[in-house]
Amino acid sequence: MSWIATLGRSGMDSIRELGKSGILLYRILFYPPNIRKGFPLVVQQVYMEGVLSLLIIIVSGLFIGMVLALQGYHTLAKFGASQQLGPLVALSVTRELGPVVTAILFAGRAGSAVTAEIALMKVTEQLSSMEMMAVDPLRRIISPRFWGGFISIPLLTLIFNVVAIYGAYLVGVRWLGLDAGVFWSNMQSSVEFHSDIVNGIIKSIVFGVAVTWIALVQGYFAIPTSAGIASATTRSVVYASLVVLGLDFILTAMMIGEW
């Protein structure tokens, strides 16, 4: 019967973890930030998490768009439908690839850095010493990182979308010789602003909350040893990627099924 006790213990542990993470998110969201002191910190984090992620987002966006166009062109050309390349690329990028790939890249580029930074602060007891000096580490360290990621991910997604579509334009029109007018007009007639682009932005906002929340929780509750930092960083990236893929399915089902 000991395995039932093990199951129960691990169940209670995971619920306790979830509760602690929920309280952390609640405290980030509902403790009023000090605008005058908090704003520069948030701007710094938008720089650290958003601006410094631009390079990887732009490069991967460009190549994903180019590969999509190349693959799509050769498949569509078999059916004599290569003029539908624009809609193919634009729809798959704005609906799915843009938000999902951006969130996963962000988890690897910025989420892991946030986790490692906070976990190291905890190991070296910087967070405790801040509390000793009557500085709330939640407002000073955690909350700006959350808002920085929350602001950065939708903006990075928009940039990713545009760059990927431009990459598809380069391959489809400049290299493979499709007509530019057909490419854009077919795209415009089949992409709708509300159901495709706005839904993609909603997805990226949800992913932004999930990815930054996971990164902060893993860092804040990391076991204070060097092995603890290593496993916290790994879990931050793995959990964030899995949650993004799972949430993407749920959100797509909601948006298509009109729940």
């Binding site: 710094q44 720089y47 958003g50 704005t94 979308n161 854009w184 415009q188 602003f193 495709d196 682009i197």
Partner: protein
């Protein structure tokens, strides 16, 4: 870590870049133009079968787009589809005895409504109804009729052969 002022400038550039991307997505990719709707008037028509017609399907005269479908409803007495079309104000001289038909662009393309102008002196205006309509050609029905005909002609031959014997 660069100075706060440089960081603020870079973040500002980042925001501008993102806003520019949103504008490109809105206007270049999704062709968002009904943010500033052009002036138009609504005309209704009743069809027996609208096939795959959807809201925002184009209305064309001679292949030129003059408006789009704004609403589709079912008349619960006659079981006909009532299609409301919005036609741009600049095309305000369409005769009111014109006929409207639902066609398909290409073999497997989307449906659109084509209006064929006639010769009446009075014109369509807000709230008027197009009386003469042609339903959509549904491919399955055509194939069904075709197969039915083939089947019948086969039977005829069979009967003739039977009579000859």
């Amino acid at each position: 870590m660069p100075s706060q002022r440089l960081i603020e400038m870079l973040v500002g550039l980042f925001l501008l870049f993102a806003i520019f991307s949103l504008a490109v997505l809105a206007f270049k990719v999704s062709g968002l133009t009904n943010l500033f709707p052009t002036k138009s008037y609504a005309v209704t028509a009743a069809f027996d079968d609208i096939g795959g017609l959807k809201i925002r399907s184009p209305i064309k005269i001679g292949g030129v787009q003059v408006g789009e479908v704004s609403n589709i409803a079912l008349d619960s007495q006659l079981f006909k589809a009532i299609v409301t079309m919005r036609i741009n104000d600049q095309y305000n001289n369409i005769p009111n005895d014109s006929s409207a038909g639902i066609y398909t662009s290409g073999l497997l393309g989307d449906n659109y409504i084509a209006i064929t102008p006639m010769y009446s002196k009075t014109v369509l205006k807000e709230g008027s109804t197009i009386e003469f309509t042609n339903s959509a050609m549904v491919l399955e029905k055509l194939i069904g009729q075709f197969i039915y005909k083939i089947g019948n002609s086969g039977n005829d031959k069979g009967e003739k052969n039977a009579n000859a014997q």
